[in-house]
């Protein structure tokens, strides 16, 4: 019963067959409206769901013209020339379209589908995940069309390709793939298309969700696509040849492929002077290094090799640990878990309360822990340093991954001492170097320009 033939109407009855069938299926939606409009002998029937259509548009572009034209024939001609007319494919899609805000009109035994949906999510949001000092402060909106509009405004290249498809899950969300046709890596593009085609998850609600499924790696620790909310970052990566995946209803987009160094770039780096941006970049990598290695180093030095550091420092550390009743690794794990809890709590709590959590956790408990001799003063410094350095990583996803990584290193240091820190560190590098993002190596230096590197020196 799907197919064009079944759509041919029978208008002898009061309600056309198709309308009857659709109404039957839409029964559960209480806001379905089926209404005839009539003037003299001329009449037309409208079917729509009230909550998703724009009432003003309905009034201005459909009902008013009908009464002004006062002729079925002319009204049909008028409808046929509207730019927001949509092709009717079959009944199933028709149902989906109706739920999304289309209007079905039956006039002169013909059906016309008009897009008059109301979107309440097209306001541009202020960037909240990746704030910068300079550069644009507005992020994306939750509406796909507005987002594409935003990008087109910033990237006015005719070679910008937009492919629009629909997910096959329950949300039936509209999805757009954007890329610059001239610079895009076609291999990556094909992989993205292939993986999108393979998706068979029942419900995909946001880009972050989609990103996880696109990964196709069950036990991944590091993200292999980059999630961002900054239009300037998107445009920058678009020009670099990446593929952008946008999902309707998400204020973030995801980009593929992503390499490790992408996650360490803040957009501010492009707006600063040369040396300023070099030094902030250096600072960031120092932070990355500190937050992964420092807890492990603390355990290794205190418990295994206090003779590595100079004598004065070793004595200071030992003096600070007087009264702490357990070995250093328990101290570190205890304090690290504590700081992770604090971070987690301040993310989840409502903004009004989160200040209290920081004060109670950071200030009061920090002091009390030292006074109760449950952790040394130096431990508190180490833990705070670690926490602060974690926040230096510009992309939040990466900072979550790094938080997990340092526990691995801590374990290795606890078991194998100072040598374990170095061995574990090389092991992490090995893991990252072996990881791939959409067929591209994840951790690799691009000394020459990228295209030459990929084509020339190394075989793919």
């Amino acid at each position: 019963m799907k197919g064009m033939s079944s759509l041919n109407p029978q208008s002898d009855n009061q309600i056309p067959h198709l309308f009857a069938r659709l109404l039957n299926k839409l029964q559960v939606a209480g806001d379905t409206i089926h209404t005839p409009i009539e003037i003299d002998e001329e009449n037309a029937q409208l079917l729509f769901i009230k909550s998703v259509i724009d009432g003003n548009q309905l009034q201005n572009t459909i009902i008013k013209p009908f009464f002004e034209l006062a002729s079925e024939k002319r009204f049909l001609q008028y409808l046929d020339s509207l730019p927001n007319k949509i092709e009717i494919v079959d009944e199933e899609t028709l149902l989906v379209e109706l739920t999304r805000g289309m209007l079905l009109i039956n006039v002169q035994q013909r059906y016309v589908l008009i897009d008059i949906k109301k979107v309440n999510t097209d306001s541009v949001q202020i960037t909240s995940l990746e704030p910068t000092i300079y550069g644009p402060q507005g992020g994306l909106s939750e509406s796909l069309e507005t987002n594409i509009n935003l990008l087109r405004q910033r990237y006015a290249e005719p070679s910008l390709a937009v492919e629009i498809t629909t997910l096959t899950d329950r949300s039936k969300s509209v999805l757009a793939i954007l890329y610059d046709k001239e610079v895009v890596d076609t291999e990556v593009l094909d992989t993205v298309r292939k993986r999108l085609g393979q998706l068979n998850n029942p419900l995909i609600q946001s880009t972050a969700d989609l990103e996880l499924y696109l990964n196709q790696e069950k036990f991944a620790l590091f993200p292999s696509t980059l999630l961002t909310e900054r239009p300037d970052r998107i445009v920058y990566n678009l020009a670099g040849g990446k593929v952008i995946i946008m999902l309707d209803g998400s204020p973030q987009v995801t980009m593929a492929p992503a390499v490790f160094f992408d996650f360490m770039v803040s957009m501010d780096d492009h707006y600063h002077n040369f040396w300023t941006s070099i030094s902030t970049t250096f600072l960031r990598y120092a932070g990355l290094f500190t937050c992964t290695v420092l807890p492990a180093l603390y355990v290794a030095i205190i418990s295994y090799n206090p003779d590595v550091i100079r004598t004065e420092l070793a004595l200071t550390v030992a003096g600070s640990r007087i009264g702490v009743p357990y070995p250093s690794y328990i101290e570190v794990i205890f304090m690290l878990v504590f700081i992770e809890l604090l971070t987690e709590a301040s993310i989840r709590l409502p903004k009004a309360v989160s200040a209290t959590a920081t004060t109670v956790g950071g200030l009061i408990l920090g002091t009390a822990v030292v006074e109760a001799a449950l952790a040394s003063n130096i431990m508190i410094i180490v833990v705070s340093l670690v926490a602060i350095s974690t926040f230096v990583i510009p992309i939040n996803e990466m900072s979550f991954s790094v938080r997990a990584t340092r526990f691995f290193l801590l374990l290795y240091a606890t078991l194998f001492g100072l040598a374990g820190v170095i061995i574990g560190f090389v092991g992490i590098i090995m893991y990252l170097a072996n990881k791939e993002s959409f067929g591209k190596p994840y951790l690799k230096f691009y000394w020459k320009n990228r295209s030459e590197e990929i084509k020339g020196g190394l075989k793919k």
Binding site: Y412, A419, I423, L432, A433, P441, K444, F445, K459
Partner: protein, 364 residues
Amino acid sequence: MNRFLYYLIFINMIANIIASVPRILILEKSNGAIIAMVLGTIAGLLITYITIKFYNAFPGKNLMELLKIYTPKWFSISVLIYFAANWYIAGSITLVTFTFVLIRFLTPEMPIITIAISLLIVVSSSLLIKTKSILYMIEITIVIFSPLIIFFLMKSVFNDVFEIDFVKIALMHINELPNYSAFTASTYLYIGIVNMAVFNTFFMKRIKLGILPLLILGAGGLFVISLTYFVPIGIGGFDKIDDLIYPWISTSDSIRMKFGIIERLTFFFLLVFLAIAILSISIHWHGACRLLQSALGLEKFKWKGHDLSPIFCAILFSFVSFLLILYLSEGQLFSYTTYFFNLLPVFFGISMVVFLVIKRRAAK
């Protein structure tokens, strides 16, 4: 030349400092070590040149593929197994030596098995990763650690205790006939080039073989080997330096960094060279695994679509190394290492024969 080739060569040059090369050279200090070092460098450069020239004829093909195409099965299998054994031993020497070094200098109370496990976990996982990833891993690690290596090498020469007079005494022995062990130990510095056998898959372009690359390699090799030999002598003195089992570690322990957070240079040395050692072992073992896979046709060895042969290699290699670590003494390790170095010319000879055979058959 491709930068990854330089990495392969330089990693092995630097890694020799922790293997037995310095001790072998120092033992022969008055038996013609110096001329042997010069000759070893020349021989090493020659081997590098020939190897690169050979692989240039077959861009993007590794030795396993070449052997399969051009030589009979019995020949390729026996060569591959011989090569795999050499690769494995080269990696294991570094592994066992470093395990002994760690227990002697860094964590004496830790059971030797624990130390071995800590190294083996990471090293044997290098067998499981893609060959190309090994190259990326080398590059990242070198970039992170090279400032530290350069600092360490600078510090080992420019310090209060380094006496140039001892070096002058050592140089007085230039007029002796070269010693065989010292010669083979010096050629060991250039062993990195043989890894082309596995990694040539990724060198698609012809590698340029001008004067400059060879000059850089020669100068680099000479620089490293003279540091290897002269720094322990300059600091420990000429007469008694051969009493030390690990001349470099004891040497670096006599240097103090007055204003550093780490005061004794030896910890610096141990930790930085630990990273280099892991790279060197990973490269060799990875090579050994790939050669063995190809020799025994282990690619067919599959379970539910997963290739199990790297896991098989990892278990085998780790198990043998365990036995080596448990049952070898430091003295035995040293003498076996010397035997291995002394057999290096045989290895190079066989390589040359293999190259010749393949080249002839390919020309037909």
